[in-house]
């Protein structure tokens, strides 16, 4: 019987239901009665996710000396739903904050979440931590989380090292690694090398009882992960040179950049006025930051990479090199100079006339470089002056001007080399060498950063090539951890023999009888340099100097800019000279000169 057969199927269905019900009951019996791991205490059992913050990577200078390290601090966390405070007054006294503030903070945490932990008091010192943790058992719903804070053994290099602060909502959105209350590099190397320095957070899942006591790892730590320490940054920076540079630049506005020409490693990068990096650490960070931000002297700006200046006479060598390479002049080409009555640019120095390129650099003769620049633009190998200008412009790019090096600290500026299109636009296509004559002596639209000027010194010292300047030479223990761009040699495309002419001329700036820096000659080695005095619509001239040493095989190239200080020879040259002496001999013998520079107040 078909219908009876089918009616029997009710028992199949019933059996199916029974099987499911029995399985579920067995499972429930297992979960609720046999397996104890789900109810370790018959009371309140709460899992707590404790984030394990790894120590942030430290930074060492080129000699392995410590620039930044970490110190432990403690954040007091609150879980509002579990929080019980028997005596608010007593608790506030314990935490060393006032009652009203304590109430607002608890309210804020409660508004964020009643069940998720928030930071109640951040960065409690080791001493206070010991004292508070002894009493904390009276306050369920509170616990400590370990954090590390940055410490600087010497208060130097604030602009380079940068600072660390709490992540912003925007940063959290960009990268889901970061959670509320995490720290992130905000500026300088801390920012650029964030992913190496931060390491990786770990997590520990612990069980906590109703009295806020940790009852050990949850499920034998199956869900725990160990934090991974941040990597050490090895910098090319020389800590002593940096410190010395900051001392020399105290009470002056400007910057000093020193580069190792052989590798492109930055030896010192001073921006003045600076500030103590310890100001931007800890609970006072916000207040201090605002104070620095509102300081009229703008100490937060890193003038060494984001200050731009017309290079003045320091630019003349580059014009000479391009003219030589273009065949517009040769080593013996002479131009005459009528001194103060020269047209269209007058000369401020007294010297023999006519003169060739070497003497012209030594005496910084403006008419010579005007004629050189004009010869370049009208050189017979170019179809017209605009094409010649393009050649000149391309050479500027090859010298690392008008664009960023993409060095490893943020906020670098490209400076400015005006393009052919720019002049076409400004002069409606109708311009010539005369119109743009200021370029011949490094004035006008040209703007360079001190970093670029230092790099020019490195290029001349190297006779034609450079590595893009950078601060970090090694990350952690890796051998090839640096970006490839920092280890790629860049050639300027100007022949070595022309560089040798320019180098000789720069040597005479120190060594020659009429050299503008002859008073700052150093006894132990030969240095080559060039002064610059840059007109400036906002006040006194800027004092500039670029140099490299030792002459035969340079290991330091340097640029010094002192804003509104007058002649290049008066301030920038002696500071550069002292820096080179410090770096190459390890001590400064010219105490008088040193004293004069240290004491000068130029702001």
């Amino acid at each position: 019987m078909r219908s009876r057969q089918l009616a029997f199927r009710r028992y199949h269905i019933l059996l199916g239901i029974l099987v499911v019900v029995v399985i579920y009951l067995l499972r429930l019996f297992w979960l609720q009665v046999i397996d104890q791991s789900y109810k370790f205490s018959s009371q309140n059992n709460v899992l707590r996710f404790v984030t394990l913050y790894p120590p942030r990577g430290t930074m060492l200078d080129r000699n392995g000396e410590l620039l930044v390290y970490n110190e432990t601090a403690y954040d007091l966390m609150i879980v509002p739903r579990q929080a019980r405070i028997p005596d608010t007054l007593e608790f506030a006294r314990l935490l060393k904050i006032d009652v009203q503030q304590l109430r607002t903070r608890i309210e804020k945490a409660r508004n964020y979440s009643r069940v998720k932990p928030s930071v109640l008091v951040e960065q409690i010192s080791k001493e206070d931590y010991g004292y508070i943790s002894e009493k904390l058992y009276q306050y369920p719903g509170f616990y400590f989380q370990t954090r590390t804070l940055r410490k600087y053994p010497m208060a130097i290099g604030a602009h380079i090292l940068g600072d660390v602060g709490e992540v912003s909502p925007a940063e959290m959105e960009r990268n889901p690694y970061y959670k509320m209350g995490d720290y992130i590099g905000k500026s300088g190397l801390e920012r650029s090398y964030e992913q190496y320095l931060r390491g990786r957070k770990g997590i520990r899942v612990v069980m906590v009882d109703v009295h806020n006591r940790e009852k050990g790892s949850y499920k034998e730590g199956r869900f725990d992960t160990l934090p991974e320490n941040g990597q050490t940054l090895h910098l090319g920076l020389d800590l002593r040179l940096q410190a010395y540079g900051e001392q020399l630049m105290a009470n002056k506005t400007g910057s000093v950049v020193a580069i190792d020409p052989r590798t492109g490693e930055i030896l010192a990068l001073v921006s003045s006025p600076g500030y103590d990096p310890n100001l931007l650490v800890g609970r006072q960070r916000g207040a201090n930051f605002n104070q620095l931000l509102n300081d009229p002297r703008k100490p937060l700006i890193n003038r060494a990479i984001s200050g731009t200046y017309p290079p003045g006479s320091t630019f003349k060598m580059i014009n000479a090199l391009v003219a030589l390479q273009a065949g517009a002049i040769n080593e013996h080409t002479q131009f005459s100079c009528q001194g103060k009555s020269s047209q269209p640019i007058r000369c401020t120095h007294a010297h023999v006339t006519p003169l060739a390129v070497k003497e012209a650099i030594e005496h910084s003769c403006n008419p010579f470089f005007w004629n050189t620049f004009r010869s370049t633009l009208y050189a017979s190998r170019f179809k017209n002056h605009k094409e010649a200008y393009q050649y000149w412009y391309d050479k500027m790019m090859a010298f690392g001007l008008g664009h960023k090096f993409d060095t490893d600290i943020p906020f670098e500026l490209p400076g400015n080399i005006p393009s052919r299109n720019f002049f076409d636009r400004v002069y409606r296509g109708n311009w010539n060498a005369m119109t743009v004559r200021s370029l011949s002596i490094g004035q006008g639209e040209i703007l360079l950063t001190p970093l670029q000027i230092a790099n020019l010194a490195a290029i001349i010292g190297n006779e034609g090539w450079y590595y893009p300047p950078h601060l970090v030479r090694r990350i952690g223990n890796g051998t090839d951890s640096l970006p490839a761009s920092f280890t790629t040699k860049i050639h300027t495309g100007v022949d070595r023999k022309y560089f040798q002419i320019v180098k000789e001329a720069m040597l005479n700036v120190f060594e020659g009888g009429g050299g503008t820096a002859r008073r700052y000659k150093i006894a132990d080695f030969q240095a080559a340099g060039k002064t610059g005095t840059v007109q400036n619509p906002h006040g006194k001239d800027h004092s500039l100097f670029m140099a490299f040493a030792p002459f035969d095989n340079p290991t330091i190239a340097i640029a010094v800019v002192v804003e509104n200080a007058g002649f290049g020879a008066t301030w920038a040259a002696p500071i550069a000279s002292l820096m080179m002496e410090q770096f190459l001999t390890g001590e400064v013998k010219r105490k008088d000169l040193e004293q004069r520079m240290l004491e000068a107040v130029l702001n």
Binding site: I17, Y24, S37, K39, L47, V115
Partner: protein, 419 residues
Amino acid sequence: MREEKNIFRNIDWITVGISLALMLIGWISIYAAVYDEAHHSIFDLSQRYGKQLLWIAMALVLALFVLLADPRFFNAFALIIYLATIAMLILVLLFGTTISGSKSWFQIGDFRLQPAEFAKFSTALALASLLGRIDASLDQMRTRVLSLTIIFLPSLLILLQYDTGSAIVFGAFMIVLYREGFPGWPLLLALVAGVLFLITLYTSQTAVLLGLVALFIISLFFVRRDVQNILTLLGMLAAGVLFVLSVEFVFHNVLEPHQRTRINVLIGLEEDLRGAGYNVHQSKIAIGSGGFFGKGFLQGTQTKFNFVPEQSTDFIFCTVGEEWGFLGSLVLIGLYLALFVRLIDLAERQRSVFARVYGYAVLSVMFFHFMVNIGMTIGLMPVIGIPLPFVSYGGSSLWAFTLMLFVFIRLDANRLNLL
């Protein structure tokens, strides 16, 4: 023959009692789940327990109307109700409001309605109406195709609303078809395929393939080894191998990422305490911490501290497990089992095919909801968001289940009036 007006004497009070008990348990649990020292009036309409109380009252009014209705109405209008529901499902696709990823709600002011909940009811009616016709038999291909169409058309439309959970529920009607004569092997095949799918993901492909070959060799010893039998077995082996080989592909290319994680969490390949596994893990802690006797009414800490999300809707069973322990779970599951057994009994005693099929449809849908919902809270089923009948918070689902059940109770009360 009894009088029509004695309907209240013919009502199956056992079923009515169980459903009322479930509603009461649901309300108490919702109260406990959202309980807050700040609000304790049970009639507070700003709180979920206040609203649920209102909805239970309205459900009872609805039940009364159903009981007073003419039982012939349901069979007569089955097709119209069904087609109206299909129309609603299409309209909601066009004009619906999207809530947590599913475009399955009509919003009129503060009031929200989910047509998918009522689709189960109208599909049950339509299916019963079809199979109740004298000329219909599941031995015919025509009836089979028609009934499968009735079942899976609304399911497909609901799938288009991205409400996978509700769409899957329609698979439960296969139980009804089985009872009415649909061959058993497609169901068995589906079951075997499901198990193979999970085993393949859990262990390795090679292991499962070797297992299939071993099974093939073993079965050779148990059958008469003639050409036909061996060929059949070989065919089954080949089908099994092909299926296992396609599992990886389907898993990685057909399923959505969140569905993959849910399956991985279920079979224990992934234990992401803060991600997909969070709900299930917290739910297991809540239930597991209840112990044998439970923590007592309003004493649950896991559910109270909001560790379990969706605790008044899909994860309501956590509150029962935590506050009333194994004993409470046993009572609740016992109530459901009693309801299911009773429904089978009632269905089998119907004189009309229509009423019997409808009864089994009600049983199937409720059982499926029960199995998936409780299964997911104890980690035996993937997380599929469907409510626990009569217990979970929510008006739409409560009214839909009330309507379904009480229509059957009405039909049952009328059974003696039929020849």
